[in-house]
Structure formats: C-alpha cells, structure tokens
C-alpha cells in the first residue's frame, strides 16, 4: 500500500493549494484515504499530518474507510425530499441492511447520502457508481439493487 501511494504521489504536480487535489487523486485511486496516504501527503507538502487530516475531514467528499464494490448515493436534496427521497433511502437501508454512510458486511455496497446531484427535475434520484437513475419508486429502487447484486 505504502509503495502504491508513493508512486501515485510521485506522478503528481505539486503547486500551491495542492492538498485537496492530491487527496482527491488518492481517493480516486483507492476509493478512500488510507492512513498511510495522509502521512505521505503531509511529508510531500511539508505540512503536519493533523493539518492534512483537518482539511480532509472538513469536506464531505473524503472517506477514511474502505468503500463497497458499488457505491449507492441517494439524493436527499430539496426536490428529492419533497418527492419522497427519504422513502428511497429507507428502502435501500432495509433491503441491504446497511445505514447511510456505511458499507454492507460483504463490502458489496456502500450507501451514502448526497445533498443534491442537480437532477432535481427527475426527483427522486439515486446514483450507483456513475450511473444516474431518476423518477424512482420503492419498487424501481429494489429492481436497481437487484441488477447490481
């Protein structure tokens, strides 16, 4: 792991304000920010680990535990809320026995809540990996999960 992080960071351009782009790159590669990566980013930028950790925890995008093979993001923006987004979230939580922010025991699915995808006209909306599904109902949601099982 350490070596992979080192190689990744070596290939990146480091300029002013590079912390967030570097962390984004690490997360893009590994799916989360491994403990080792925080330390290596800190050394590379000559900052303290706590500073890096402070930045990383401030932003909702970063995660510190291993994600599932598929990431399900349920939109709970206003339009989705008004059109029943929380029911969609409840359906998934029940179907997969996992809470928002968690990962299923077999690491197959990670479940996240997102404030808005900007697909409000098709609310309620969810995203599996990078595919957007709109105009959902509980039934349609169950079908989508089944497709990815």
């Amino acid at each position: 792991m350490q070596e992979r992080v080192r190689q990744l960071l070596a290939s990146q351009k480091v300029d002013t304000g590079a912390v967030i782009p570097l962390l984004q790159k690490v997360q893009e590669t590994f799916g989360y920010l491994p403990q080792e990566a925080i330390g290596q980013v800190a050394r590379l930028l000559k900052m303290s680990e706590s500073e890096i950790f402070g930045v990383a925890t401030f932003y909702a995008q970063f995660r510190f535990t291993r994600p599932g093979d598929h990431t399900i993001k349920v939109c709970l923006g206003t339009a989705c809320h008004v059109r029943g987004g929380s029911q969609i979230m409840e359906t998934i939580e029940r179907e997969l026995d996992v809470k928002a922010g968690g990962t299923t025991k077999d690491f197959k699915f990670g479940l996240e809540r997102v404030a808005c995808f900007g697909s409000c006209a098709l609310a309620p909306v969810l995203v599996v990996d990078d595919k957007v599904y709109g105009r959902l109902s509980s039934g349609k949601t169950k079908e989508i999960i089944a497709q990815h099982q």
Binding site: V19, P21, A121, G134
Partner: protein, 648 residues
Amino acid sequence: MQTKAFDDIRAHAEKEWEALEHSQKPRILVGTATCGLAAGAEAVLKAIEAELAQRGIEAILMQVGCIGLCYSEPMVDIVGPGQARVCYGGVTPEMVTRLIEEHVVNGRPCSDLALGTVGKGSADGIRPLFESPVLKPQVRIVLRRCGLIDPENIRHYIATGGYRGLAKALKMSADEVIAEVKRSGLRGRGGAGFPTGQKWEFCRKSAGKQKYIICNADEGDPGAFMNRSLLEGDPHSVLEGMLIGACAIGASEGYIYCRAEYPLALKRLRIAMAQMEEYGLLGNDVLGSGFGFHLKIKEGAGAFVCGEETALMASIEGKRGMPRSRPPFPAVSGLWGKPTNINNVETWANTAAIMENGADWYASYGSKGNSGTKTFSLVGKVERTGLIEVPLGITLAQIINDIGGGMLGGKAFKAVQTGGPSGGCLGSDFLNSPVDYETLAKAGSIVGSGGMIVLDEDTCVVDLARYFLTFVQNESCGKCVPCRVGTRQMLGILERITRGEGRAEDIDQLQTLAETVRDGSLCALGGTAPNPVLTTLRYFRSEYEAHILEKRCPARGCQKLVSCYILPDKCEGCGICLKACPVEAIAGGKRMVHVIDQVKCTRCGACIDICPPRFSAIKKVSGEEIEVPPEPIPVTPKKKAAKTEPAE
C-alpha cells in the same frame, strides 16, 4: 489585436456550421446532459446507433446539452435534409425504430410523438416548440445555445456568435468594458444581486499587479441545477465571460471552482479549455492582443459553505473552507491576499452576451432595477419540471401555471420555496408578485442562485423547515457560535415539533433563536439559515400550532403524526399492498378486507403508492382515527354491485 486571426477562425467555424445545416445527411441530436442520462438517454442513443447501422443509414449523430424541458427527457431531435428540425420528447428505445423508419427513411415526421419544431421551417401538424406555453414566456439569453449546439465543439459556439463579445472587448479600453456592463444593469446571479460592473470596478481600482478572477460553480443549493446545465450545455459562454472580465479587471489568472458532484460539467469544461488553448483564446497572448490569461479548474470537495466567497478562496488555497470576516473584501485582499473578483457561472455567461449585443439590448429585458433574465430550476410538485429562463419581473403565477403547467396531479398550491436553504417559503398571497431581488427580499426570501421548489397541499412546511435546518446544521463550518450552536438548538426544537412533542413556548423560542442566528452569524450561511423557519413562522403559523397544540400534521407529511387505514368499503382484497409492505404490518387474504397493524406500521407509504387508483382504499390521516375491523373480514360482494349499477 490581430483581428484577422479571429476572423479566420470565425470564417472557418461558420463554414463548418453552414455545411452541417445544409448537410444532405439526416441529423439526429440526442440530449445527453445529466438529466437526459438519468431519464435513459444512453439506451436511446445506443438504440439509434444500432438502428442506423442495421439499415446502413449514414447520419450525423450529435450529443447536445439540455434544452430545459426535463419533464420530457429523454429528448431526440431529427432534421431531415432541407427539412425543419423536429423535437421528440419522452423517447424510449422501443420508439426508435418507428422514428427512424418514418422520419429518417420516409421523411415524414411523426406528429403524434413530436413536441414541436425548432428554428426555421415547419412540418405538417407540428407546432413550433418555442410557441408552446412552456417556452413562449421564456427569454433565452444565457441558455440560448443549450440543446442546440454540440458543447464539445468550439466551432459551433463561434459560428453562433461566440467570442464576438470578447473580440469587441479586446478593442475597447477596460473602463469602457466596465461602463458597458454597468449600463446593462446586470446584477450578480449567485443570489445576492450586487451590481456586477461595480464589483469589477472595485477590483480593477485595487492596488496590486497580480489579480485573480474566480468562477463560482459550487452550486450547492439542494434543488438547484442551473449552473450544471449551463456548463454541460454551453461551457464556452461562461469561459468567454471570464475572459472579458479578466481583461477589464486586469487579472492574468483565473480559477473555476466546480463541485466534484458534476463530473460531466467538469469534463466539458476541460474539453472547452483545451480547445481555447488550441485557438489562442487562452495563454500569454489572447488572440494576439497582448493580454495574457491562464485558467485552472479546482474541484470542490463537498462543502456547502464553500459557495461563500471567502470560504471558497480558502478552499482553493488548500485549507478548510471556512469563511472569514469582511472587510477586507476580496476585491482588496482575496485569493492569496491579492485582489480577487468572484462571480457566479450565470453572471459570467451574461457578460459575454452583453458584450456581444450591447448593454441597451440586455437592459430591454426585465424590469427597472432588475434588468435581464434569470434562470431557475423549476422543480417539486409542478407538471412540467425543468430549467427555465425568464425576464426578471415575471410573476410567480406565470412561472408556475403557464411555464410549469400548473400543479402536479391537480393538487392545491401551497407555497413556493426560492433560494434553497437561504431562502423562504412564500404562499399563495405572493403568486401575483413580480420575481425580482427586492420583492422577494421584502417577503423574507431571496432570489438566490435560482432554485424554485413548488410545494402542494401534501408538503408539510414545518417538516421542510426541519429539513433545511438539518442541512445547514450539517454544513455549518463551526467557526462562529450563533451558527454552530444556534442552528443546532433550532433543529432540536423542530425535530421535537415534527415528532409531536412540541411545547407551547416553542414558537416564541424559535423566533428569538432565528433572529439571533440571523443577526449574529459571521457569514451568509448563518445569516440566511433561519430564513426557511422565519418565513414559515410568518406565513404558515397555524401549521406550527396544529403540530404543537393538536399533535396533528395538516399536510399529513410528518411520519410520527400520521396513521394509515385501509377502508373496508373500498378494499377488494387483492393483496398487492400486503406484498409491498416492507414491515409485514398488513394482514389479510384473498378477497378479505386487509387491515394495517398500527403498532407495526412505519407510515412509509408503500401501500398507498401501490394500491390501484380504481380502489384508492388506503387513507392517510392525522389527528383522527378511522374505525376499521380489527381483523380481516370477507369483502362484501354487494358493494361491488352497487358500484357497477349506475354504469348499466
């Protein structure tokens, strides 16, 4: 400036566009912005490709942005050689064969599936799309190219008038450009409405050699997607605006701060910037004018507060995105302590149009003091959801009834929420009020970045206030006490009220807390966070009272305050709801009236959604009980006879 260089590019682009317009091959355009993709545009695109390949048809297949009619996505436009462009909505892969067969092969547009014609020419039995009720009241300035050009082809942009505003600006002095923008009356489209020309002037006059400009594309308001749509459908219009601004302000570097949640917008921006470099529109010497400009993209990492300008700059600098107190304003000391000018995506796109067509043209739209147009994402409980652009000063009723086609399912209008978590809920008293910065502010809301969420009788405004408070409480950066602690206390009270545990003194306490948070917070996030609560307290006080005093939710939206019952005289014992119930709270059998176990029931509403409309046997109530049999009983056959009688 070497005008010849740009003239050559333009001539080349126009030639390509002409060739496309007069092509002998049929053209098929598929809307593949995020909303189109969510509705299934990818499957439609694949079906078209397969159908064309199978028939051996040579056609020009183009992917375009969103025209704004999200309710009828996926959308496909077909243009036969020498024919009018016909737009089809709600296209499914199954419809593709017919569209290709009849329209592309036989040259006969399918009038029953068409939404309308676009642009010049006409087709039998199909009306012009822009004459339809949804588009007629709209004025398209910012969105004028969305859905009509290929956003990944800079020559389409240039051929349709693009970069002409920049070419003009490069020939003018900076003061003249600023004067033109000032004269247009353009105000910041990010929400606050500060005059753009004046903002530019402050930054221009600031001392210092190094200056920055920033495009705020961190569209964080839940329920708003105007900026996403524009960046996906016409990225160059935003970039041209930035070049004009940079040249007027004297900035040599710029940043676009765009949310990571918008992958397609980011992709299209990167493509657009690479093309600009290729055409000499970015770099040390823009179009040979001697003016140099460099642009970088920074991806936001998911923090709502970074939409606030000082927090956004902290984030670009790689720090925690926390706002700081002003002054000094960014125009004096912004990014890395240098003078900086931040504008929203839509503001930048507007400046490109203003420079191209002139300030007087722009000011001829809108109302006095509120010139021009504003884009809104019209969503929630209206028939036609989508992205709209209207002249400021239009009434809410025109937007909701004419453009939006009225309320979804014919339900009663309750309120419209503008400005997201920083805005407020306005009820039916405001339907005939003009939509402009001052009117909405006076009513306790804001224009904001342009989210417009329509609520009907089934939306509980107390629950909505709780929803927004949950959001701002999550997103509060924690730096100042009123926002950090105040929003938490307010949320606690609202959660109690929606659970049915409200106390008589809660309303007064909420009011006091809301005013304290509003007046005492450091930045706009805290300063506006109480708006949803303050407006609902002002216009919908009786709903709060019903929750607190009668433990009743009039809109039947608060799960803890409602119960669901199956009406014995309507239930046909079909068993659909029994199977759909996720918690096995429904008892019954074939031809037996089903009964809901009120203890097990979680009020998720799955049974109501699935009960066939011809039965409509499940009723949701709040504050009352319906007498139903304690256990399943046989369906009484006589009521069936009684029902069919009048028809015979």
